[in-house]
Symmetry: C2
Subunit: 206 residues, 2 copies
DNA sequence: ACCACATACGAACGTTCGTGCTATTATCGC
DNA sequence: GCGATAATAGCACGAACGTTCGTATGTGGT
């Protein structure tokens, strides 16, 4: 059984992650966080010893959730298209999760931190590189399994796919375009078409 | 000749736009802005009568620059592919402009404001809708001119193209991937291939 | 049941935030 | 050049920021 301090700390990080998805890691404020959790500012602060440490731990907490909800389940799918599709669909669900009222916390943090050097940015960069790496590897394994074209460019696919995700995030959350999700799925399909192995048989599964 | 107040106000907005591209419209602070421009906080403040008004005027100022540097010159290109290519290339240059040290200020503001209701967000949404509208119209005119496929989905293309831009912004500014720009160009080419009119003659202009 | 220690609180620190006043200086039409 | 008006500075405010400190209360192993 975890000790009491560990429990409250988890609760803090969980709530902080949701708040950061809306307000960003800078807009995330210790006083505000303490109020919502009915803790004193100093009591909460004692768990982390600086705001920077809190921000980094929020990123790590979100990354652990992301692996649980998106990466790990998808890696149980067979290599090739099913796995890529799982990664994509689970990312969409992640971006719409109720525990992240502001959507993907990494997308929020990315544009917030891309110009602010420091340990928080460094951590985010590492996590984002790992995520892109998952996409690249997943394409590469599909190629190796003969399900994607041998000349498929995995890094190109990864950047393109992330673009589809970011465009959806933008069109949906800012512009509230009701068709954003349908378009994202079509774009994903078009991306897949570009790397799919073109065998002789004309069957294509919808 | 513009009055003195108008001149300093322009200077303020110009500098504020660059600052907002790095720190966001919230991170943009009146005191910081005044220090850099060697103005007093209250003297600067008097030009706008609230921070919210300043933020909105920063958005408008940036939009005017965007139209000057990206939209208007591109609309002088012939309809179809040249115009779309101009819009894309000029957006890339806009995102890398030295006057915007943090990159496209709208990309920054978008993820910052997508969860904060209010007049600033409303203004940003309007501007972004106009920009997407330019893309949609440009595709539509290409279709009408017979240079793009009649069944081309302009809204789909617009969302996809904006995804390419956002993915570039992300991969370049946060991950500092040196190949981000080359990949963005390849992705743009692939997008164009999807709507290009497939005439009988096999000539394709590079 | 006790005691060492982890956990939380309340108050205060110095800064910075946005926003009002009032006074002084600069501009510009006549 | 004068005089009305615009433009800027100076100062102060209440609130919120991250952070520190001393102190109280609770937990958990023995």
């Amino acid at each position: 059984m975890p000790t009491k301090g560990q429990r409250t700390r988890s609760a803090i990080l969980e709530h902080a992650t949701g708040l950061a998805s809306q307000l960003g890691l800078t807009g995330l404020t210790i006083g505000h966080l303490a109020d919502e959790l009915r803790l004193s500012k100093s009591g909460l602060f004692a768990h982390f010893r600086s705001k920077e440490a809190l921000q980094i731990q929020v990123l790590d907490h979100a990354a652990a959730k992301f692996v649980d909800q998106v990466v790990r389940p998808s890696l149980r799918e067979p290599r090739g298209e099913p796995r890529l599709r799982a990664l994509f669909e689970r990312w969409l669900a992640w971006d719409a999760a109720q525990s992240l009222p502001g959507g993907c916390v990494f997308a929020q943090a990315a544009s917030e931190l891309d110009d602010r050097a420091g340990p928080v940015r460094d951590r985010l960069v590492r996590l984002q590189r790992e995520w892109i790496g998952v996409l690249v590897t997943s394409v590469g394994l599909g190629v190796a399994a003969g399900r994607f074209r041998p000349d498929a460019d995995a890094e190109q696919f990864a950047q393109d796919l992330y673009g589809v995700m970011l465009a959806f995030h933008h069109a949906w959350r800012l512009l509230t375009d009701p068709q954003a999700e349908a378009r994202a799925r079509r774009a994903f399909g078009a991306l897949l078409d570009g790397i799919r192995q073109t065998t002789g048989d004309p069957e294509d599964r919808p």
